[in-house]
């Protein structure tokens, strides 16, 4: 029988092909790939749609205003509140009270709110006219959006009241006070305007959490694949045909490519949805203005991809190494815990890095090889990171990646044919030293 000499490369490809093709053809993978964007999309849009729908009709307008100013300020605030998007059917009720009767009026209102007649009550007294604090109690007191709306309504009411006091025409007052400005913040970097700050943050989150999800998800896929190969004893046959290093490489790259394929498909699908968003939005009767993408330079994208790939490989190798030291799936999760903790550490640092991207903590985390792949892209998205910081962080990740692969290969070489109890740390140390 003719046989071409099979070098490590051919064997690597055989392992790679098996890992890749078997996985992307699985029903779960196809489902997750299609359902993933739908799920993420709905996580983002459904609450928005719900709040939009809820906005005009309910919460803010459905309150009692206890007006102790005796000036008609309460009525003014109620009118501002009722001017909701769709012209509310529910309206705020104004109850004029005297200062002495305020406590009992509050008690009565509280009882009514408990009975679900209203959402909350607002107290306006003469101090409020002077610009002091206004008191509100209600079921929606923790809603930042509602409180912002209330505050704006009270301010407009007071302003109108003051303008009227100096003798301005009511018509003109309405025209002057009807201001609905909102802040649209842009980020400025060395290259000039870098797009919306809010979008940058969202983008940073997206980059960080995609990588995090992929590491945890596919790290565990690799972990399970290695343990499965070991516990089903397929490894016995396979290592007689291919060296453990080649097997490890084929596995890690095969599974990584499955993850990359998924992310690429998600990007493509998102792009398609974005291009065709007009008809789609129309379908849901929504009118959302075009979302400008944050401007990112080509070099930054290259750096992002490099962080992503190196970070993923680094963790994938560690998960594979951990898989090789155990014999069954139950032990596998435990063995992988230290690795999982490293990823979680990186994610815990995302928010501090977002809030203060130039703090010592954020800088430190973007150098440490195991947190850098997640933290550095976050910092790069929200602030200006100097190129030498990016390059040295990349170098750090590359070295970390090399060390991980080295450790994993050694654990793999010794562990793949070892069965029985989980080795102690000291034994692992010996494995790593002995494997040659």
């Amino acid at each position: 029988m003719s046989r071409r000499p099979a070098g490590p490369m051919q064997k690597f490809w055989a392992v790679f092909r098996r890992e890749y093709l078997e996985r992307i053809q699985s029903r779960w993978y196809i489902f997750a790939t299609v359902a993933g964007p739908v799920f993420f999309g709905s996580v983002i849009t459904v609450p928005q749609i719900l709040t939009r729908k809820a906005h005009p009709s309910a919460d803010v307008s459905h309150i009692v205003i206890l007006d102790a100013t005796n000036t008609g300020l309460g009525a003014r605030v109620a009118k501002v509140l009722n001017g909701g998007l769709l012209g509310d059917t529910l309206s705020a009720v104004v109850r004029p009270v005297v200062s002495a009767g305020l406590t009992s009026a509050q008690d009565a209102a509280t009882a009514e709110i408990v009975n679900h007649q209203w959402t909350g009550y607002l107290v306006i007294d003469s101090a409020a006219m002077a610009g002091a604090e206004v008191y509100y109690a209600g079921r929606n007191a923790s809603s930042v959006q509602d409180m912002n709306r209330l505050t704006a309504a009270v301010r407009r009411g007071i302003l109108a009241q003051r303008l009227e006091a100096v003798g301005l025409d009511p018509q003109r007052i309405r025209a002057l006070t009807d201001v609905r400005s909102e802040i649209n913040a842009d980020r400025i970097t060395d290259q000039g305007r870098g797009g919306s700050a809010e979008l940058s943050t969202i983008f940073a989150y997206l980059v960080a959490f995609t990588l995090y999800t992929m590491i945890v998800l596919y790290g565990n896929v690799i972990l399970r694949a290695v343990v499965d190969e070991k516990s089903s004893r397929v490894a016995e046959v396979v290592v007689s045909s291919v060296s453990p290093d080649t097997l490890l490489a084929g596995k890690v790259f095969g599974v990584s490519s499955v993850a990359v394929t998924q992310v690429l498909l998600w990007v493509v699908m998102s792009a398609v949805v974005y291009k065709t968003r007009g008809p789609l939005l129309h379908l849901f009767n929504l009118d959302i203005p075009a979302i400008p993408f944050p401007t990112i330079s080509g070099l930054s994208i290259l750096a992002l991809i490099a962080f992503w790939v190196l970070g993923f490989l680094c963790y994938a190798a560690l998960f594979a190494g951990m898989g090789a030291i155990v014999t069954n799936q139950e032990d596998a999760t435990q063995a992988a815990l230290p690795v999982t903790m490293l990823v979680v550490l990186a994610v815990v640092l995302v928010v501090p890095a977002l809030l203060d991207p130039n703090s010592t903590l954020a800088r430190g985390a973007s150098w440490f090889p195991f947190t850098a792949p997640i933290i550095m892209p976050v910092r790069m998205s929200v602030t200006q990171v100097s190129w030498y910081e990016v390059v040295s962080a990349l170098l750090g990740v590359a070295i970390g990646c090399g060390v991980s692969v080295w450790i994993a290969a050694r654990l793999y070489r010794v562990g793949l044919l070892m069965y029985g109890k989980r080795p102690s740390l000291r034994e692992l140390g010996r494995w790593i030293r002995q494997a040659s």
């Binding site: 046989r3 000499p5 099979a6 055989a14 089903s232 004893r233 016995e236 007689s240």
Partner: protein, 320 residues
Amino acid sequence: MPAALELTHVTKRFDGHVAVRDLSLTVPAGAVYGLLGPNGAGKTTTIRMLLNVIEPDEGEIRVLGTSNSTPGVIDRVGYLPEERGLYKKMQVRRVLRFLAELKGVPGKQADKRIDEWLDRFGLITPERDWGDAKVDELSRGMQQKVQFIGTLLHDPELVLLDEPFSGLDPINAQALKDTVLDLRARGRTVIFSTHLMDNAERLCDSVCIIAKGQKVLDGEVTAVRDAHSGRSVALGFLVHPPQAVVEVLRDRALVLRSDDSNRSAEVELAPGADAQELLRRLIEAGAKLERFELIRSSLHQIFLETVGANGVEPGVIGDE
């Protein structure tokens, strides 16, 4: 023709204990060779060293005429491990194709061979082509067949079977024996490790018995048996033997051990004693003999004698 396998003074240690100690053996090309020994004797370690999965601490291993670390040489070896398993969720054909690819067989050629083998092992029937099924849909017996196919698919020149009969049903065991003989007829070399002496005796041309990592004896099966034969005699009496005959059998200068039951006995000659002398003494004592036969020891007995002398715990031999 170079030897299919040559081990020269091979030693392997693990954490202070010696798994294989100074092992030398030669397997001639085209032979069926048995590596015999109780569990824990170092058979699997030896096989893993042959396959270059683990390296010996000392000594040299040559496979098919070249060092076993020569690139490509292990691709000419087929290996059936003691602990068997396949990718459960994979289609049978794909698993086999993968195993063939790892040995460097091009995909198309592999596909053709896979069909031939599946057919030969009865895995393609008019009702169902099991090649398209997933591994975990197959019965255990079928999975074992698939595993054999995986071992032989690349037409290896040297086949290593580690405890091939463990866990096999009688039908598959017979299929395996037939396959071994077929391989031999086609000039392939087969090495198998086992602790089941019956199979070894019937199939092997040569054997090597190892215990505690050391070689106890080796050689052609007939030579080994001859060397260990002639010390036992089977006796048959026409009538119940008289007391004088019993006295002869109790003479420790002549008989080391005797195992007698009514009209027959099996005796082991004492060192230095001669079978002819025993015959003469028995007849003098008035025995009416129906049978006097020098017994050739079975491998099983030789195994017990030689390995037992090396101090193996009782009970490890022959259990499944």
